[in-house]
Symmetry: C2
Amino acid sequence: MPVQNALYAQSGGVTATINASACGVIEAARRHKKHIARLYAARNGIVGALQEDLIDTSAETPATIRALLHTPGGAFGSCRHDLPSLPQGRAHFERLAAVFRAHNIGYFFYNGGNGSAETAHQVATILPQLGWPVISIAVPKTIDNDIVRSDSSPGFGSVAKYVATSMHEAMADLASMANSSTKVFVMEVMGRYTGWIAAACGLARPGGEDGPLLLLVPEIRFDRKHFLAAVKERIARHGWCAVAVAEGLQLRDGRRLTQAGGDGIPGHEQLGGVAPIIAAMVRSALDVKVHWSVLDYVQRSARHLASQTDVDQAYAVGEAAVGYALKGLNSVMPVIQRISDRPYRWRVVPAPVGVIMNREKRLPRSFLTADGWRLTARARRYFEPLIHGEAWPPFANGLPVHARLILKPVICRLKSTWRDTKA
Amino acid sequence: MPVQNALYAQSGGVTATINASACGVIEAARRHKKHIARLYAARNGIVGALQEDLIDTSAETPATIRALLHTPGGAFGSCRHDLPSLPQGRAHFERLAAVFRAHNIGYFFYNGGNGSAETAHQVATILPQLGWPVISIAVPKTIDNDIVRSDSSPGFGSVAKYVATSMHEAMADLASMANSSTKVFVMEVMGRYTGWIAAACGLARPGGEDGPLLLLVPEIRFDRKHFLAAVKERIARHGWCAVAVAEGLQLRDGRRLTQAGGDGIPGHEQLGGVAPIIAAMVRSALDVKVHWSVLDYVQRSARHLASQTDVDQAYAVGEAAVGYALKGLNSVMPVIQRISDRPYRWRVVPAPVGVIMNREKRLPRSFLTADGWRLTARARRYFEPLIHGEAWPPFANGLPVHARLILKPVICRLKSTWRDTKA
């Protein structure tokens, strides 16, 4: 096996633990200097690879690389950018082949979700046709938990822990206000197509099987009448009602609530936010005080409350990616395989990217009760180990400490620059 | 001094640390059984006192009371309910005197903000006129940090730590997405009349004096043109821009943005939320991708990330309240006096409720730079010690553990019930 360089890059919406995968890749690569001379990182994902905008990770100290374990965001920059297909996209792949050849890059680690996995697959399959064979590994990352073949997706456990904790705490607040003030609280979480994150809020339900918390997921079409009746019943029985709603909640006709404008009020779609629509609906129908929140980026960057399980798994898939590459596995993704629920045991296994990419794992209907409002025992068995353990970051002056990378640029070797990709 | 019972109650919007004050009151009362026979709690604030809906805190174990230190929400229920003035409100005070007399309540501890302080003052001054003297102490609590005479308000330090951390983390996320996706993130925090919480977000500014974070507070009227120019400049210079905005942001004419509908888009006012208005404004003016979040209850119940300074001060004012009562001080509030910034030293001193109640401490103009966007060094010296230290709660099964109180009801002694107060 010739000594070559490797390239790591981050893609898609970032998570609280994508940098833990970066840490896993970098630390593993450093242990295999016989095979991987230098590990570069592309700035801003595949865009940086096209632009020959590379960073030499060997300039970073071991302590800085370790600090990636507790640093949110994407330390090397991420991107929302898919490569075109062949034959139209030929120029893109020729450019990538030129950059990889110029820097003797034989290994590519692309850290992203379902869409980014296709980029990894394209690099593995198309660059050899252009005369530059590359071993390309897709490192899984997504808060959406929608990667097929992986029991859970690195990034999800931490957002699940954060939203369940936030709902747990907000319900304590709501319960104390409900007697003379707010009776309903609506919390919007991410999830355009799947309800994994909204469902994870169900872990916050304190005590009894039928606590006053309703879950609204995109997999179950929203029925206004049914929903309002459930809220009304919870208020009558418990004095209050909390609602966790996924941003992608859909009406019966398949339109999102944010597109439809909820209660027929025009103009909301341009603002986004399904929580204010639900809140306005409850307020006008039931005449009660309603509070709402939209967590947005705050939920997926909340590294201060990461799940230890998630941090461990994010690191493990990064580390495994290097191992697979050095074994010669190509176009695979290290995925999480669950061995048992209680005690929770898992391992990392390789899965072919070709069967994973561009697919989407939806929340099983069996995870919610027949009425759709609550988690089933099966769902709890699935979710609970994923939020287990607290991976507190270090703090200084009252704030979490993040890694501060040097980000040493690699000197460009190509004469031409890449202009086709809008930066 | 005769042995009497005492009554504790919680009022107004709750905080992550109001129960730490409850813990301080209860533990101090238990150390003074010679003077305070039993400490009762009113359910749902003054409403429970009127309704003779009392709880006997002596039924709770010491461990449960200690667990209040890390339990968000109001453990005994809070209320939004002001007592009427005399003479119209005479029936209310006669009812309170009857309840206090029936249960031999000689001490009253009312845990709330500026408005609730007036209730404590009314109890101290009006009940003696009706033949039942009571020593009444206002225990300070508000995330708004607007209590005059107190250097900081218990509840504020924790929300400040949470919003500064959330902004710090979200900025790491935004910085990694900005190259090909989102360039602006707007985070809305609480603060209807004051910008203390929004200003605390300024602690998140990483590194240089002029980082890409803009603060929007109610104390400075919003100027759309000036704001958009600042956002545009930050994007040009840094590639992205984060914005922290207080819910009560006002236009030049004094209307709130949420009332005015922002950019002239009708219908938004009923949904609340200034962040989506700011986001839509930036999107339409600068044609960039914008994300926004509204934290709402999540910020003020985030006990998982409380400030140790705040927990210590919340406990201390509860404990001091009992000491003041037993010394015979009446209608006072234990407030925080800062002795020095660095090292941060503070003590609790009594202040007369009469000069505190219904007033409001606004963010000093000197806390923001001349352009209004950033914290000054003076502001940093003020804020930094308030977010210092992490008071992590215990966790079990991945979620924070909260106190589970028995809430043993006290048997009613009055024949009449109270019907005038809408529950």
